[in-house]
Amino acid sequence: MDPSVENNVRAVRRSKEEKKVLKRQIKASHTLLKHEGISTTSQPTKSLVVANGGLGNGVSREELSAVLKEMGELETLIMHPHKPYAFVTYRSEECARKAHVHLNGEKLQCGGNSVTLYLSFVDSVTCEEEASVPLPEGLVLVEDFVSPEEEAQLLAAIDWSSANDDITAQKALKHRRVKHYGFEFRYDNNNVDKDKPLPAGIPQECLPALELCVRNKHINIMPDQLTVNQYESGQGIPPHVDTHSAFEDTIMSLSLGAQTVMEFRHPDGRLVPVVLPGRSLLVMKGESRYLWTHGITPRKFDTVPACDPQSPALTPPDVRTHSNLTLSKRGTRTSLTFRKIRHEPCRCAFPSACDSQGAPSTSPPSPPSLPRCHDDAAQLEEEYVHRVYDAIASHFSSTRHSPWPQVCHFLSSLPPGSVLADVGCGNGKYLGVSTEVGCDRSSALIQICAERGFQAFVSDALSVPLRSATCDACISIAVIHHFSTQERRLAAVRELVRLLKPGGRALIYVWAFEQEYNKQRSKYLKEQNKEHPENHSPINKASEDSHRPVDNIQDVSKVTDGKLSVHTNRTSFNTQDLLVPWHLKEGKRQGEEESGEGVKKEKRKEKSKKSSGNSCSADSSSSSTRSDCNPDPCPGFDSNMTPGSVQETSDATHSPDSKPSPSDDSAHNTTSAPKSESSPVPVFHRYYHVFQQGELELLCGQVAGVKVQSSYHDQGNWCVILEKDSIEMN
């Protein structure tokens, strides 16, 4: 049969499936043109673009080339990191055509995903041959430094069992495991206790390797400190410079077990990824030790150079050029970092990074811990409550406009002319009802009260400058959960009771651990449906349960080593003490509405702000949704949420339009904001102790002279009404 006729017949018989594949292949080539500037051609050539066959969508070089080779011999295969496509050039056009016919629509199973390949001819393949990026100055990598036997001996020499209770906590929080010899490295100040050597010095088993280092002139003096880090797949260490004043110049790191990629960053922004194979020795000296930061991004796969022994032309030297890369799954890696303690101040040539020469000591990346005394508690609250509210005041205020019905009910039940104190009044949401005075710890928020014409002053809830027994009623709405010890929370309740006249009543609201109650999800949780699903990344192991409500108290993970983790907004709580992100936006004028997905536009009534008369209107249950991205733990306010995607010890860096952040290895921070790559939205963390059912009642029960009159759950909060005994008891 004449080939053209044959073709026509074939065309007629093209199945539905084939038509679908063809349609999708055309679509893929349009997408490539539109988004990547890749133009495809219908004329056959030797080269093809393979859509969906990229490192960016989890396809490894080995898997792809195996499939492509079935069609013929490959000349080159280029896979740019992070891209969802590859370029293949066959030795002959015929093979390319074969691939085009047979591999279009081919499904690949790549480590858990299934991808469908679509191939189109391209005229030319641009190979971004970047100039090879040099290693940081002073950095030397020695491969095969120890033999496999020596590696096994060294790994066996590390005694993890005696490492202390930290290990269990580290495991629970999925931190890398750490053990020190010689001197303990402290993560709270990133320095060493030079006066307190550890009982165990560097293990004997390390001596041969260290002697080799001396012989090879990597070091002159034997190190006296060893830190062992063990990383599981998915664990890393945030970028840092080893403290100058703690250690001498040369620092050596021996990598045992699986390989990894360590990233070096220069202050000017240059990034150099360095593959550390197992059994290699990394020597950091000079600039690479004193100025560049080094870190390991917590990842399960690294992009590394491919080694194709059959086609040397396809294999390039290292990961710093962009061709011929593949994905490498991480395994467990143990690093032995040998350092010499420095006893004199550092006099390096890099004063900007030198703590001996005036540079600020790097504030430790580790998250804050639960305080054990008042001073620590006050400090924690200063950083994670007071400074935050002062920084976010106007934005915060713009999101707190709808009074909660139950609170209004309490206020309107007070006899006219009642003297009311609102302790922790915030932006004055509940002021303007009767004779009341508000106080708050945040001057910025009190400023807003003043602007709105309310009487308020700045003070601490633990010491309110009002005389005892002068108030007919007090309210404390969403305040006490910011105190970081039980004693302080109790003291706050006592202060409220002190202010009450005999027979007076207090209303207290605190955020509840149980966000779902009586099978009803709180508004805080409900908003989650509007979120982009890709924004949820696990914080710790308990977060797999993050969408399942916790109804069993045993499910509550205690913060074992005292480290506070950052909560993912709009999900259930899994610990009682935590940090809740706030994504700062410019404060908006009240009444201003924003369009956005899922935003309901409802008009809000302007409250009248007379000092007499009740301004708590009955319809204050307005539930306008704005695209402000921060949750009010209280009813009456709904917002579109952009949850933070967070690593255990580092901070969220992601933009408010819900893009998942790529490699999250941001620098540490506390309240001042790390900026995301796509848009600089500062993120602040507020400390909360969320209350379990009954806990608030128990707390109030410890205060003499007062009774719990009623207790209830209101939209994700536990609430009590207290009544002071009519006969004053002293």
Partner: protein, 123 residues
């Protein structure tokens, strides 16, 4: 800060027993116009510390002819109630400070807001 608020405030410096009323040292005072509500004022009066109000009025030079003691039957005395209303709700200290009568500690008033925060050792 209005005088109604001042009437409630006290010094809470540690160890002080006679911290009330706070002395007012005003550098800027503003007069507001607030709707007169006789019932409101009359209900407030029993809850006030009258002598503190008189003292505050004196310090601000706003006392005029306010009596040193409560007049009987003030509920029906509109004239009297207006005077009280004016003092409680219309006089406002914008800048200045409040001073603890016992320790001398000064709490600043700025933009109408008293800052009553104590330092670590004072609390």
């Amino acid at each position: 800060m209005k005088l109604l608020t001042h009437n409630m405030l006290t010094s809470h410096v540690k160890g002080v027993t006679k911290g009330y009323p706070l002395l007012i040292k005003a550098t800027e005072v503003k007069m507001n116009e607030v709707e007169f509500n006789p019932q409101f004022v009359s209900r407030m009066i029993p809850k006030l510390e009258w002598s503190a109000l008189v003292q505050a009025a004196d310090e601000l030079g706003q006392r005029q002819d306010l009596p040193g003691e409560l007049v009987p039957d003030y509920e029906k005395n509109e004239d009297f109630l207006k005077k009280v209303h004016r003092l409680l709700l219309e006089v406002e200290v914008i800048e200045g400070c409040l001073q603890c009568p016992e320790s001398g500690r000064e709490f600043p008033i700025s933009r109408g807001i008293p800052n009553m925060l104590l330092s670590e050792d004072e609390a």
